[in-house]
């Protein structure tokens, strides 16, 4: 309803009143639009700091795991699709990965997965190599926001077999088995690894982050259901819905 007569009085006053009304309305709309832009657009700017996470960070060092391992096998590789989350890592970091160790004590290993550290714009895929002689390297790659398939396996090559690390089917990095000091392993493990107490592993309960299609690779190159034994400690949880799937989460703290 538009104002008319009364205090505005007469045609001129009425016109001025209508103009004032429109001006007030446009002013309010402009302010509302500006505030909307401030509230919605600014947090969406790529690279802008994320809102402070809710979980607390009591600190403390030490590495904590939620893991599912399988031993007494001869593995020439391992593969899994791993879910994705951008959780609270406090001032530290977390990784979710699959590994082949040369033996149960892991003197040498190959590992692939994603990791997310304080300061990262988003989680990164990685390939990690620890040779039996102690030589170590880790390479991180940009990957999109989605569940990704991580796979390490032995590829026979004319110049010698190598451990090939694949993310979403593409070879990212590889090393010759002669460099690594082993060409198969007797222990495989899928794990979430928090590098400080209360860094989030998986998703926050009751949600659960899944490792699916969890298989090791035998000498014939066939995928064998890993059927791991799972374990973890507070404040983390893990379960195994099937022989090729584990799920992990962080309990409220």
């Amino acid at each position: 309803m538009y104002p008319s007569g009364g205090a505005y009085g007469g045609a001129k006053g009425c016109r001025r009143g209508a103009i004032d009304h429109y001006q007030r309305r446009w002013t309010r709309m402009a302010i509302a639009a500006a505030l909307t832009i401030a509230v919605i657009v600014i947090p969406a700017i790529p690279g802008a700091p994320a809102p402070t996470a809710l979980a607390h960070c009591p600190g403390g060092g030490g590495t904590t795991y939620a893991s599912g391992g399988k031993g007494s096998i001869t593995a020439y590789g391992i593969t899994s699709s791993i879910g994705w989350t951008q959780g609270n890592v406090c001032s530290s970091g977390v990784s979710h990965s699959v590994t082949v160790c040369n033996t149960g004590s892991c003197g040498g290993w190959v590992q692939s997965g994603w990791r997310y550290y304080n300061g990262y714009a988003e989680p990164k895929g990685y390939c990690e190599f620890r040779a039996v002689n102690g030589t170590y390297s880790l390479t991180e790659y940009t990957i999109s926001h989605a569940a990704h398939t991580y796979r390490f396996d032995i590829i026979p090559a004319p110049a010698g077999a190598n451990w090939a690390c694949k993310i979403d089917g593409a070879v990212k990095t590889s090393k010759f088995t002669i460099e690594m000091g082993f060409g198969n392993g007797t222990w495989t493990v899928a794990q979430g690894e928090a590098h400080a107490t209360h860094v989030q592993i998986g998703t926050m309960a009751p949600s659960k982050l899944s490792f699916t299609g969890l298989n090791y690779i035998n000498s014939a190159g066939s995928l064998i259901a890993m059927n791991p034994s799972v374990s973890t400690s507070s404040p983390y949880g893990i379960d195994k819905p099937s022989t090729t799937q584990i799920r992990m989460w962080t309990n409220a703290h």
Partner: protein, 165 residues
């Protein structure tokens, strides 16, 4: 009425101010256009061969006359330092420009003919991650002593990072 206009103007100006301040986040860093210096074109001896071997990339030093980079070495260093603050701390870094001749590994986030800053950290003392062993204890971690972070010299985008003992 004038007061309302002024108020609206002030809100608008404040928003523009915030956007200007946050704009560098969206780009990663301030962009510049200037030739790389001679020092920025001289990687430490043997490093290009090492990276080529480790990463499946063929890297060469570009000709000084041809190089006009949009992202400065200091900006690349800042981008890397922001991402890896919790890992590199106050570690020293040097930056050098490389030309990617070829990317042997199809999966790497680097394309041939690209100009890339290598931000090289040394003197690190960071424990790596480690797998859980069969006995239920973590394996012995490695110690990371140096890192190479590759940043696009054109866009400032993070390309990859390589950490070694």
């Amino acid at each position: 009425m004038r007061t309302r206009y002024l108020a609206a103007l002030a809100v608008g100006a404040a928003i523009i101010g915030v956007l200007v301040v946050t704009a560098p986040w969206s780009r990663g860093a301030e962009a510049t256009n200037r030739p790389a210096t001679a020092a920025e074109l001289e990687p430490p001896a043997g490093e290009l061969d090492r990276l080529t071997g480790d990463l499946g990339l063929v890297l060469t030093s570009p000709d000084a006359a041809d190089v006009d980079v949009r992202i400065a070495a200091s900006a690349a260093d800042a981008i890397s330092g922001t991402q890896y603050a919790s890992q590199v701390g106050d570690a020293r870094s040097v930056q050098y420009l490389v030309h990617v001749e070829a990317a042997d590994n199809a999966g790497v986030s680097v394309t041939p003919d690209e100009l890339v800053w290598v931000v090289h950290y040394t003197g690190l003392n960071v424990a790596s991650g480690a797998p859980m062993t069969e006995s239920g204890r973590p394996a012995e971690p490695a110690v990371i002593t140096q890192g190479f972070v590759l940043i696009s010299a054109d866009t400032g985008a993070f390309l990859l990072a390589h950490w070694t003992d």
